[in-house]
C-alpha cells in the first residue's frame, strides 16, 4: 500500500528527472549514423511509472515532460515531433504490456522502435519531400539498441522494488 502523498512526491520526482534527461539529450547530439535519433532516456522513467503505478500516472508524467521540456529546450515544432513519437511509443508499450507475453525489455524495445516510426511519419507529413523509406531501416535499428538499453535499466530498477 502506498500513500497518496508518497505517490505525489515520487511522480513529481519522476517529472523532474525526466526533464533533466530531456535536457541531457538535447545537449548531447547523437551523431551516430542516424541524424535525429535520441537515447530515449526519459522512456526508462515512463516505463517505470507505467509498471509501478499505471496508465494514468504514466500519461501524466509523459505529457508534463513533453510540454515542459518542449517549452524549455525546444519550440512548438519540436513539441509536435516529440508528442507524435511519445504518443505512438506509449500506445505500443501499452499494448505490448497488455499482451502479457513480453518482458519489460521487449516492451521498451517496442516503445523505442515505435517512437522513431512515429517521428519519421510526422516529419514526412510536415516536410514534404522526406522519404521515409531511406531512413526507416536505420531508425529501426537505433530504436532496438536504445530500447534494449533503457529496458534493461528499467528492469533492474523495477526489480529492486524501491518505488
Amino acid at each position: 500500500m502506498q500513500s497518496r502523498t508518497k505517490k505525489t512526491a515520487v511522480l513529481g520526482l519522476f517529472i523532474a528527472l525526466s526533464l533533466i534527461f530531456s535536457y541531457i539529450e538535447s545537449v548531447i547530439p547523437v551523431p551516430l549514423i542516424v541524424p535525429g535519433a535520441k537515447l530515449g532516456l526519459p522512456n526508462t522513467l515512463i516505463l517505470l511509472v507505467l509498471y509501478t503505478y499505471g496508465i494514468r500516472e504514466a500519461l501524466a508524467v509523459n505529457g508534463a515532460r513533453i510540454l515542459l521540456s518542449g517549452f524549455l529546450f525546444g519550440n512548438l515544432f519540436s513539441i509536435l515531433y516529440s508528442f507524435a513519437g511519445a504518443a505512438v511509443s506509449f500506445v505500443a508499450m501499452l499494448l505490448a504490456k497488455r499482451a502479457k507475453i513480453f518482458p519489460m525489455k521487449a516492451v521498451s524495445i517496442l516503445g523505442g522502435v515505435f517512437h522513431n516510426v512515429g517521428q519519421i511519419v510526422v516529419a514526412a507529413f510536415l516536410v514534404s519531400g522526406v522519404s521515409v523509406m531511406a531512413y526507416l531501416p536505420l531508425l529501426l535499428v537505433a530504436g532496438v539498441v536504445t530500447g534494449l538499453c533503457n529496458g534493461i535499466l528499467a528492469e533492474m530498477i523495477y526489480k529492486r522494488g524501491i518505488l
Binding site: 541524424p35 516536410v127 514534404s128 519531400g129 522519404s131 531511406a134 532496438v144
Partner: protein, 124 residues
C-alpha cells in the same frame, strides 16, 4: 512454446532487425548511382546540382540558411543557423536515395539518379 516465451525478447529483436534489413535492401535495390543533388524547400524544388561538380551552395529560406557543399561526389551541410544542427551532424551522402533533412528550415537535400529525374521531367 517454452522456448518462444523464454526468448521472446531476442525473437523480437531479430524480427525487427530482419525488417530493417529487408527495407534497407529494397531501398538500395531501387536506388542506383547518384548523379544529381536536388534541393527542396518546403516541398518545392529550389535547385538541381550535379554531384560531379564541386561547389558550395547557400540555401536561403525564410527561416534561415543552410550551406550545402558538394565535394568528391559527396554532399553535406557544412553550416546552418538552425536550432538543432541535425543537418550539420548528418553524415555526407553519396548514393541515390540518400538525404539530408533540416526540419527547422523545411529543407530536404536528396540525391537521385540522373535518368530517373529525366523520366520525371517527361511525365510532368
Amino acid at each position: 512454446m517454452g522456448f518462444v516465451k523464454k526468448n521472446i525478447t531476442w525473437i523480437l529483436i531479430g524480427l525487427i532487425l530482419l525488417i530493417a534489413l529487408v527495407l534497407f535492401g529494397v531501398s538500395r535495390f531501387l536506388a542506383g548511382d547518384a548523379g544529381q543533388v536536388i534541393v527542396l524547400v518546403d516541398g518545392r524544388e529550389q535547385g538541381i546540382y550535379s554531384l560531379r561538380e564541386d561547389r558550395e551552395i547557400k540555401i536561403e529560406t525564410d527561416r534561415g540558411f543552410n550551406l550545402l557543399v558538394i565535394e568528391d561526389g559527396q554532399a553535406y551541410v557544412a553550416e546552418a543557423d538552425c536550432a538543432n544542427q541535425v543537418c550539420v551532424h548528418t553524415q555526407p551522402v553519396s548514393s541515390a536515395g540518400g538525404q539530408i533533412i533540416c526540419l527547422p528550415h523545411k529543407v530536404v537535400i536528396r540525391l537521385e539518379t540522373t535518368e530517373k529525374s529525366e523520366t520525371d521531367a517527361v511525365t510532368n
